[in-house]
Every structure is written in C-alpha cells, then in structure tokens.
C-alpha cells in the first residue's frame, strides 16, 4: 500500500497535513488573537477613564464646585477648559473626574460587598445543600424577580440618598448573580476527589469549604464581580440621573447628564462628553472582564494539558 496523494510533509517536513496557514485560520487561534485585542482595548479604555479619575486631585484643574457665573456653558477647548464649562461656569472635566470618583467609589465598594455576600451565601448553599440551599436559592430568585431600579429607588426614598445607602443598596442588589454562579461552581467542586479526601482526613465541612473549595472557585467568580463593576457604575449613574443620587453639589455622572439635558440643543458637550466617559468605562471593563475570563479558561486548560502530558 502506498500513501500517495496524502501530503505528509508540506511544511518543512512536519508530519501533518495542517499547514501554518490553517493554524492561523483556526478558530482557536482567532479566538486567542481576538482575546488579546479585547484585553488591550479593554485595558486602554479602562485606563483612559480610571487613571485621570484617580489622579484628579493632582491634575492642574479647577475645583469641581468652583463657579464662575460669567463663564457659563463655554464650549470645549475654550479658555483652558478642555471639556468646556457647565450651566454655572464650573469646569466640566473637573466635574466629570470628581463625579467619576464618586461613581467608582460606589461601584467598587458595592461590588466588593456584593462579591463577599454572594460568595459566602452561594458557597454555603452549594456545599451544604438542604435547607440552606433552599433558603438562599429562594431568596435570590425572589430578589431577581423584583424590578431592580424600582427597588433601588424605593430603598433610597425610604433611607435617604447618601453615598453609604446607595453603595449598600447596589451591593445588595447585585449579590444574587455572584451567589448563583458560586453555588453552581461549588456544586461541581464538592463532588471532586480532593474534597472526599479532605473529608476522609477528618476535616470539618466549614474548613473544607473555606480552605479547599472556595479558593478553587474564587477566580471565575471574581471575574464576574469585575463585570458587575460596570453594572454598578451604571446603576449609580441611573439613580443620580433620576434624582436619587447623593445630594448636590456633589458631582455625579448621572446628575451631570441630567442637568445637562436641558441644554441639549445649545450646549451638546454637557451631556455628550460625560456620556462618552461612562460608555468608555463600561465598554472597557466589559472587554477586560471578557478577555480575562476567556484567557483564564485557556490558561487553565493549557496547564491541565501540560500536567496530563507530564504524567503520561
């Protein structure tokens, strides 16, 4: 028998019909490249917004609340105002950056708190099952069934609109997504041999959960928490836009847009520029989260494959 007609060594004697071109066109390769692009684009977009916000106090900008009534609604790039001025002559860039500090603080604190609550509740529900699973699952289902924004507005109306209340409200609003993911991951983990081994060694349930199971699920969960950051920032902006944000004169993104919409046809920058900043941050964080999630999966698989190869 011959193997004529089957190309065996088209590319430098490689014993495969798969060419370098095929490899470059492969779905896995394209996904990897797209992931790299997403990672870079996400990082750049996020950095473009987050870095100036973090450095707002150090930048040579006027105070966010300094008014100059004679210089109202100056267009961008006028008299040293990069983003122009608002309806009270305040520097818009400074207000956007200081507003970003409020929005990001609320967002970061909210996702940290919601992440902690979600991981604790989800892990307990997934590992212990039984009544605890039933309670956690029913509570999170009930909360997911409620209209989110309306619930937030109700709580803010009842308890006032301070930064603390808004942070707590968004944190409580977001824990179900983290809890649901954690629960499903823990359900898979608890059936694995290392958990059985730990049990055989006499470790208590809570110890196994805290020391062995949670560290194995915390990475994918933390990526979801990162994605929730964009949602938290949007929620804070939505609350401020609807008048339920921190009291004036605090600049918040939602309020800057809400105030600016009255001047939509005469001063476009009052609403467009803050809107672009919000969009840039949300897109950036989402791209970054996506890239880390996909990249994380690939890395784990590669590590697993290497480990399998090593033992074979």
């Amino acid at each position: 028998m011959t193997t004529a007609g089957i190309p065996t060594a088209r590319t430098g004697g490689r014993p495969s019909a798969v060419t370098a071109r095929d490899l470059a066109r492969a779905t896995a390769t394209r996904r990897r490249s797209a992931n790299r692009v997403k990672l870079w684009a996400g990082s750049v977009c996020t950095a473009l917004v987050v870095l100036p916000i973090l450095l707002a106090q150090l930048l040579p900008l006027p105070d966010a609340n300094d008014q100059e009534l004679g210089a109202r609604r100056l267009p961008p790039l006028t008299e040293g105002h990069l983003f122009g001025t608002d309806q009270l002559g305040r520097d818009l860039l400074s207000r956007v950056l200081h507003g970003g500090q409020v929005s990001l603080t609320v967002g970061v604190l909210a996702v940290v708190v919601s992440g902690l609550i979600g991981i604790a509740a989800g892990a307990a529900a997934g590992y212990f099952g039984g009544w605890m699973d039933a309670v956690v699952s029913r509570v999170l289902e009930a909360q997911l069934a409620l209209p989110l924004l309306m619930m937030l507005l109700l709580v803010v109306a009842l308890f006032g609109s301070s930064v603390t209340v808004i942070t707590a409200v968004i944190a409580v609003a977001q824990w179900p997504e983290v809890a649901r993911l954690t629960r499903s991951l823990v359900l898979v983990e608890r059936e694995k041999p290392y958990v059985a081994a730990a049990r055989v060694l006499g470790l208590r349930g809570l110890t196994i959960l805290a020391r062995h199971v949670v560290p194995n699920v915390v990475r994918p969960v933390s990526l979801v928490v990162l994605l929730l950051l964009a949602q938290a920032v949007l929620l804070e902006s939505a609350l401020s836009y609807l008048g339920a944000g921190p009291e004036r004169p605090f600049a918040t993104w939602g309020r800057i847009i809400s105030d600016g919409q009255d001047y939509l046809t005469t001063s476009w920058w009052l609403i467009t520029l803050p809107g672009l900043v919000i969009a840039l941050l949300v897109v950036g964080v989402n791209l970054l989260g996506d890239a880390l999630r996909d990249g994380g999966g690939r890395t784990s698989r590669t590590k697993a494959a290497k480990a399998d190869g090593g033992t074979a």
Partner: protein
Amino acid sequence: MTSDAALDPYTPGISRRGLLRWGALGGGSLALGGPLAACAGPTGLPGPGTLTLGLTRSLVSLDNKLNQFDAAVTVQRAVRQALTTLGPGLKPRLVLADRFEMTEPTAWTVRLRKGVRYADGSPVTVEDVDTALRMYGKVNGSFLLGLFPELPEVEKTADARTFRLRTERPVPILDRLMANIHITPADANKPEELQSGLGSGPYRVARANSGAGEYTLARNPRYWGPKPPLETVRVRYVPEESSRVVALRSGELDVVDTLSPDAAEQLTGLPGVSLERGDGVRVCQLFYNFRKPKNHPLSDPRVRQALAYAIDGEALLRDVLADSASPLRGVVPTNLDGAVETGSFTHDPARARALLRRHGADNLRLTFMWESGEFAGDASVMEAVADMLGDVGVRVTLKQFQPGGDILKWRQGRGGDWDVIGNGFPSPTGLALTCLQGMYAGTAEKERTREAFMGYVFPKIADGIEEASVEVDDAERQRKLAAVQKAIWDTWPALWGFVPKTLLARRGRVRDVGLLPTNSYDLTAVHLEG
C-alpha cells in the same frame, strides 16, 4: 433530454428549505413592516381641533383645593367655574354670577346667572355655592384658605338665584377672592380633593389618568355660554424640560408653560414656534425658617440681613436666570395692586462676613431645601446661592425634593429641620393684600396647626394686615398696606427673592393665548389655525 446541470444534485437551485426561509422572511416583513414604519414616523401629533398642553407639574386632580399651581388653574377653570374670574389687567369679571356687589360693609349680594348648568344638565344652585365654601373651609393646610381674611357665609334670599355672602368684618376684595372657589354640585362635593370632573365649564372630562397627570377634555355640549372654539384639549405631564422642548418642536405639544430661560433660548427663532412673555405676579423667595429656637442665629434679624449681603442677586438674575426675572424690591411683587417698594437686596460679601462675625454667626451651617420645578432654574439658583454663601464662610447643605415627595411635611416643620426654603408664592388675585395675607399674617393660633407660612408669626404684622384687609376706604387701605410691608421688610424674612416673568411657548397654529400675569390663561379664548 435533460441537461447535466439538471441532474446534478449539488447544483444550486431553489430548495424546499430556501423556499420556506424566504416565505417566512416575506411574511415577517409584511407583519412587522407596518408597525416599524409607524415607529419611524412622528407619533402622537394632535389633530386639527385638538390642543395639547404640556405641564411642568403633575395635575393630580382637576380640583383646586390642594392642587394649586399656575398652569393647573388654566385647566381647572375649563372644567369647573367660579362666581367670578380675573380677566385682563387682573380685574374681576363675572362668570357664574351676573351680579356681585358690596351692598353692605359686611355683605355682598350675588345673583347666579340665569341658565347656568353643569355638564350633566343639572342647574347651578345657591346650595352648591354654600357647600363649596364649607368644603374649602375644611381643608387642612390649604393655600387658598390663607388668602381669605375670613370665609363668608351664604345667606339665602327669597329669590332662588340671589344670595348674600356675609362676613363678620368687611372683606372689600371678596369679588376677587371668590374667583378661586370653584363650584361643584353640592351632593358630590367633599373636603378632600375631588377626583370626578363634573363642573359647569366649557369642557368636560372625557378621559383621565390622574396618576400620570393626563387628561382629555372634550367640548361640553350642554355648556351654558358660547361654544368654545376647541373640540378637544389634551393635558400631559412632561416634567423634563428638554422633553417638553423637543415635543413642542416636533409638534407633539402645542403649548408649554413656565419655561426656563435656557429653554426659551433654544426655542427662540425656530420656525413654527412663538414665545409669549410678560411680567409675573409670583414671588420666588429663599425664605427663612421661622420655627428655629430663639437662641439660633437665624432667629436674629441682623443675622438674616447679614446673610442677604452675601447674595449677588444681579449675577443670579443676569447669568443664571438669563434676565427672565425681575429683582424683588419689596416683600411682594411691586406690580401687585397695593404693593410698595420697601428696599432692595445688596451684594456686599465683606460686610456680610463682618456682620456675621459681629453677631457671632460665623461658621454657620445651613440646610436649604426646595422642590424640583418650584421655579425655573431652581437647582442652578440654589447651587449658585450655596456657593456665594460659601464665600462668606457659611456652609450650605442642599436638600432637593422630587415632586410628589413629602416637602409639605417639612414645610410645616414635621419632616425635619431646615433653615431656608426655595419657595414660589403666587398671587391669584393680583392684590398685594392676599399675598401678604397668605405669607405674613401668621398667628399663634394658626401656628398650632402649622398653618403659619414657614412659621412666620409676628402678631403686630398680622394685626396690621388684618386692619388693612377690613378697610373699606381704598386710600386708607393702601396706606396701611404700605406701612405693614415696610414692617415686614425690617424682619428680613427672605435671604433673596425675585419675580419670574411669565414665559410660554406655543406652536404657530395656536392663537389668542391671552397669557395673564398669573401665568394662566382662558382656554375658551384660544383658537387653532389650519
């Protein structure tokens, strides 16, 4: 004979799946095409005989007992009428009455117009007037009640249409005051806000959604007067000014009122849109809380005066309000009948700082509150004022209430502590006296039920207003009013104040909107072209 291509199963052709796919696509296009095309085009355009009004505040009901704001009055009076109304020049005109005259110092003789009836055909009776007065009298915290020195009682006479309005002391402006008492059938009247819309006006309520503040008024076929020119009037609540501006530009709304100067700037010069401006009679003030403890700095009029020096009123009027308001030079708008100039607000921050230090009120911390939409540009004014006070060392916390919130409770001192309120006070009679009566005639008795305006209780001033209100001689009344206004000014009741001009925008097809200084107009006079 067949060709090779026809026999080749791999030759592209119309497969059954392809046919089904294209069929589904065509069906879907036909089904969704219409609605999508409708979405792409303009929607909600009013018909040729329909006038659509866009209100800034929600019209919770068509009853004016508690729901009192300028544009609401326009709509409410189209459905329910009073014995009199205020026409051009703010002069009283007869509506349901054809006679309304002072026949004794404490009695006015009134005769109902012959043939006046409600939309259901039942006649307007003296009993209805009597019940309406009693019902208005039972409303707690009523703005209207504060305008009356005392509510008159109805005395029937032998004639079924004639009656007397009797008061204990003379009320020489009763004809103007009664323009605010809307008449409803006696058996349907209640002290609460009436949700039904039965009245004797030129329009009846065809559809109402009070929660959303939306009403459709249709021409009343049984109207006792001349047939109104409009077939239908639609009332919509559009709180966002930008949405109202866009809706007016697109033709979705015909008339929008109480515009901010910035919105007016956007609409100026647009084809098909006209602006109407005029002097207003509503006074907007940053009014102090007079319920503070005696040892509080704000209880000292010298501190109140010192704070007023920190406010640059000229800059606020010129830059923030874009010349859409006039400076307040008295305690009520000076274009009101009987109002006098008592002084003006001066900007002198150095003096403010020095006086505050001298009176031990430096490092003050104040809380300002207001309701969104209380006056055009409210948030900008409050933020600018807070900044100006910051320059003299006073730290201000701003508390903004959304419409429908519980600011009424706070105003009455039941919600929490505050120092200054951004407040607008209308003058529905065009008289300084009623404005003074509503704001400055607080007594200890009224304060017990928290009905004294922001806790303003100065017995001498209340007595002075009461004396003026019962004075039948015009010249003497004006003299007494002038004296009492000067006395009020010396108490420094407000940090700053202004008088907004009335500003309304309308589509070109809307004619004869006779905008009054009260920022309302008569809907029966409005015409539509085309």
